[in-house]
């Protein structure tokens, strides 16, 4: 495997309750790569398969099929070699309910050879004041920040953060973003899951949009939103137009798609010719195109287009 890939997942399959009639295809032939030193976001709604995917990478679950390499190793077979090198933030829990925040962090620090200073780390995540408060009395946001600190205390080279900002207030969310940026600057590879578009757009070098256990699209935020020369043209018209014929009428390299029924998107070099070609085709087919607009896409638009549904915030 190439040295510049921290994580390599190919054709991953994981099905829960496979033999029952309510089998859940949590991950369904999913492939992705994570470049060493990058921040990669798995973006998708709840139940998309994000957590299952990273829990397989973390060695918690075994894949039914497919190949997974983390730092070039097999997360199941080579778990004992990987554990010191990989930091893990679970979506919830993971702390002795009676332990104080500082105690829990100190226990994990004691598992590592060169841990971060516990007091300094607590301060960095804004937990100094509650270092002596038992976990069960911490607020949701404080638990999240402790969990994040637990992923970092061993000075890992790769961290998996499962929804690191879920339930955080705006301030804590920004602080977490800054910490992730600092991790990248320090050479740590970060894989995080999120269902927040703005988070993925702001933090990630590479975004993998996941739904129904599959990758819908992957690329940098700029690539995904087709920043630069490429743009898109959208219009509304009666559902079920023959878009293959529309595409034939357009310049080469242009793609026409119907997203949700009645909503059409044309990708390509948007220029006056293209605009004219689209309207001419509509006119010759007796179609009234409404709401015709040229725009830059946000990541949210990309998602809506890919899944036909809006992502819950």
């Amino acid at each position: 495997m190439a040295d510049d890939l921290a994580v390599e997942v190919s054709d991953l399959v994981k099905t829960y309750w496979p033999r029952s009639n309510r089998a859940v295809h949590a991950v369904n032939h999913l492939s992705l790569t994570v470049a060493t030193g990058s921040v990669t976001a798995l973006l998708g709604p709840n139940g998309a398969g994000k957590t299952t995917t990273i829990e397989i990478c973390e060695g918690f679950r075994r894949p039914d099929a497919g190949r997974v390499r983390v730092l070039g190793l097999d997360p199941g077979r080579d778990a004992s070699v990987l554990r010191p090198r990989v930091g893990v933030m679970l979506q919830s829990g993971g702390v002795y309910p009676g332990a104080r925040a500082g105690e829990m962090l100190a226990v994990l620090a004691a598992h590592h050879r060169n841990p971060l200073d516990v007091a300094a780390l607590l301060e960095r995540v804004g937990m100094s004041e509650v270092a002596r408060v038992p976990y069960r009395r911490l607020s949701g946001g404080q638990r999240q920040r402790l969990s994040l600190a637990m992923a970092l205390v061993g000075r890992p080279e790769l961290v998996f953060l499962d929804e690191p900002t879920a339930g955080l207030d705006v301030q804590a969310r920004r602080a977490t973003w800054e910490l992730v940026e600092e991790l990248r600057a320090s050479g740590v590879t970060v894989v995080l899951t999120t269902h927040a578009m703005d988070e993925a757009e702001r933090l990630a070098d590479h975004v993998v949009i996941v739904d129904h256990g599959k990758v819908l699209a992957a690329g940098s935020p700029a690539e995904l939103t087709s920043g630069g020369a490429k743009g898109e043209l959208r219009f509304r018209a009666p559902a079920g137009l023959d878009i293959d014929r529309l595409a034939l009428a357009l310049p080469n390299g242009t793609i026409a798609k119907e997203g949700p029924p009645g909503r059409y998107v044309v990708h390509g070099d948007i220029d006056p010719h293209l605009l004219a070609a689209v309207t001419a085709w509509c006119a010759s087919n007796g179609v009234m195109a409404e709401d015709l607009q040229v725009e830059q896409r946000s990541l949210e638009d990309v998602f809506v287009e890919l899944t036909g549904s809006a992502l819950r915030p």
Partner: protein
Amino acid sequence: MTDAGVPIGKQTGKPTGAAEPDAGVRQPLDLRPAPGAASRWSMLRAQTMIELKLTLRRGESVLLTLAIPVGLLLFFTAVDVLPTDGGRSVDFLVPGVLALAVMSTAFTGQAIATGFERSYGVLKRLGASPLPRSILLAGKTLAVVAVEIIQVAVVVAVGFALGWHPHGWPLWTGLLLLVATVAFCGLGLLMAGTLRAEATLAAANGVYLLLLLVGGVIVPLSRLPGWLEAVGRALPTAAASDGLRAVLQDGSGLPAGDLAVLCAWAVGSLVLASRTFKWE
């Protein structure tokens, strides 16, 4: 890899503007990778200490491990209602209470704590750290042994204050306590690793009460109905309390039968627990 003075990432806290190279500036958090597992010894020490601390901090576990055994000892020594088969009640009670103490810590307390750790994802999270499972379990065992040492010291001290006269060879007592600890740990982990935490809580307390009554702790097995006595004799609590009583009260040699029962429970429960334990 701990090089002072190399500026890393951003400064934490206040923006210092044109920061001078090193002089007196607090080192920002150095997040650069420096992975590695700690020595097994330091992991074991950390795990044992946290387990011990958490156990002693839980009020209900202190009640279970100290207040109930010592309370029973004091109460039934003062109120002479137990059919102790002719012996002095304190000589009868101390061995039974020692067995109860071991059971409460190694089985009941252990099962409940581990069950909740499993349901709170603690075992899962620790499974992602460099901590080997063997050290996780060793830490739990050492914490149990440490609590038992406190229990035995308190029970023995209270016993002496009540005029207890032990007999027998202390080594046999120690051996019985040790094997009983292993057997009860195995049973506790078996329960915690398979049932839901709430079910473990209920079952562990129920079994505790049941074994207290039919395990020869305060009521001699010979006073139970025949069929119940037969059941009781096969249980680890009865083997522990009877074996301890044989040594401490009657001054007999190693009670091989009771030890064999305890060994069977120890091996059986640990084998079953290791096959069925679910870490999350």
